[in-house]
């Protein structure tokens, strides 16, 4: 049965914040979803419910509150495993955010497997969170950090990628499945197949992809996958790292402390089983439970419909922007090849000035380097403006956004 398109107006009713006024009594138009999304009542209520009714520490508690909290926390782990189609729930590790998830890999697997002269391959369109951890590792191990180029359409230069693979020194590929600036979606299955043919593991920064499209770790066969709860209706302070079990079993612990051990003696410890070995200290229990409610919400809509809605609205916005005078658009032209993220510049209006003008009209967009300065250098700009969409955005909001761009052009006389 063909599912009908999602109804953004109906969805909006579940998000209390979308009713508020900002600036000069303007209705909020929230177009900064690639930075963080808003939260539905069900997520807010789940957190409230935990603190009101069963707040307790998890895993080693005999009393009833602790048991209830442990069950709710572990249920989210199962939901995450199902959401990305992992084979085992032990393959899901909760961290603070996607950045910490990537750092976990660089500090553990990276230190164990990357040596002097080895190469780590990333791309020019990575977020700083998928650049800096590898720079730190590279310096520690005297390894190489290689960048796959980005072509003028904003696509990965696969010829670069093949050349790096040919060198024989590559020990890890780490790529963002969807660029947070250009929206570019990578041909991930092919990229991973090429790497695996040479026995090289692949880490996927899925911070922008998992919230916006169906992701299946068994189909893509990626080895590591990192994303953040707060970019997909969940609370801040929860990140997710997926690692294939056979790799996870060989990984040294990351944060040492409580909950990640079975026994501790004066000179050593026996580490806990997977995945607890990688979750030292008390986790963000409320956040993880809230994230469970976020996954329920997205499952209710269906990720296919999320993706279809974003293609629809992105197509609409791209068409309006393409006709706009003096606008420079970055990234693939076709909404099918990109996520709901549009970066642009208008004449000589600096993105921060544009964001100020937008803000006064109630419109929240992002401006700056988007934690992707390497890409900014490649594009030869210091900053861009970025509008990014989610399930509750409407074409009506795109119209308001376009009208505000017109105002900006009038103010700057361009």
């Amino acid at each position: 049965m063909q599912k009908s398109a999602l109804n953004a107006y109906e969805i909006r009713r579940d998000f209390p914040i979308l009713g508020r006024k900002v600036g000069n009594n303007k209705t909020l138009v929230y177009l900064d979803n690639a930075a963080t999304t808003q939260k539905p009542s069900s997520v807010i209520n789940a957190i409230h419910d935990y603190y009101s009714n069963y707040n307790a520490n998890i895993h080693r508690t005999v009393h009833q509150l602790g048991e209830e909290a442990t069950i709710a926390y572990e249920q989210t782990r199962e939901k995450v495993a199902k959401f990305i189609n992992a084979r085992f729930k032990e393959e899901i590790i909760f961290t603070r955010n996607a950045t910490e998830a990537i750092n976990l890999v660089s500090h553990t697997w990276g230190r164990q497997h990357i040596g002097g002269g080895d190469s780590i391959v990333i791309s020019e369109m990575e977020h700083h969170s998928n650049i800096v951890p590898w720079q730190i590792l590279k310096m520690e191990k005297n390894a190489n950090l290689c960048y796959i180029g980005v072509d003028d359409e904003g696509c990965l230069r696969l010829d670069d990628y093949e050349n790096f693979l040919e060198t024989g020194n590559v020990r890890l590929i780490a790529l963002s499945e969807m660029s947070n600036v250009l929206g570019t979606i990578l041909p991930l299955n092919e990229i991973i197949r090429m790497a695996h043919r040479r026995g090289i593991p692949v880490l996927v920064d899925a911070a922008q992809s998992v919230p916006h499209m169906p992701v299946d770790v068994q189909r893509s066969d990626c080895d590591f996958l990192a994303f953040s709860a707060h970019k997909m209706l969940g609370p801040t302070g929860v990140g997710i790292l997926y690692v294939k079990r056979e790799i996870l079993e060989g990984m040294q612990p990351f944060i040492g402390g409580g909950d990640m051990i079975k026994e501790v003696h004066k000179q050593g410890a026996i580490y806990n089983d997977l995945p607890y070995r990688f979750e030292g200290g008390t986790s963000n229990i409320a956040g993880v439970i809230g994230f469970g409610a976020a996954l329920d919400y997205l499952n209710m809509i269906g990720m296919d419909r999320v993706r279809d809605h974003e293609i629809d609205i992105t197509k609409y916005a791209l068409a309006a922007l393409t006709d706009f005078k003096n606008v420079k658009l970055y990234g693939p032209r076709d909404a099918i090849d990109r996520g709901g993220v549009i970066s642009f510049n208008i004449a000589d209006i600096h993105p921060h000035d544009l964001a100020t003008i937008m803000n006064e009209r109630g419109i929240a967009i992002r401006s700056g380097h988007h934690c992707a300065q390497v890409l900014m250098e490649r594009l030869d700009v210091s900053a861009t403006s970025r509008a990014s969409f989610y399930i509750y955005n409407t074409k009506e909001e795109v119209d308001i956004f376009i009208d505000a761009l017109d105002d900006a052009r009038r103010i700057f006389r361009v």
């Binding site: 600096h350 921060h352 100020t356 003008i357 700056g368 380097h369």
Partner: protein, 142 residues
Amino acid sequence: MSDDIYREIILDHYRNPRNKGRLTNPDVSIHDSNPLCGDEIDIHLKVEEDKIKEIKFEGRGCAISQASVSMLTEMVLNKPLNLVKDLAKEDILENIGLTNLGPARIKCALLSLKVLKMAMIKYYTDRDPESGTKFENEPAVY
């Protein structure tokens, strides 16, 4: 309100910056940036008898940051260098006519002053390392 911010004079200094460029053999050159915006400013000074004889800036960023530094260079040219010490953020905001900027955008307007103060301190400490202590109690520009 943005019509108030982006008045003719701001757009004029943004598009036709005064004293933009470099100096040959400056007495002091210094660079800083605003991590929030990525605004960047370099200031180059030539000092004679403790007066700012020449001042040039290089930079890129938003209209507010670039207009602010352009106007500041006009304000301090031929003035005694140690007067920079007494310049307050209110002086800058009044000079550019933007007195009610929000907490994020005010940093754009004040980066110019921050870099100029850094230039002054560097000039004095390069000549007398001990003099740096004079500036220890300087309040942060922002």
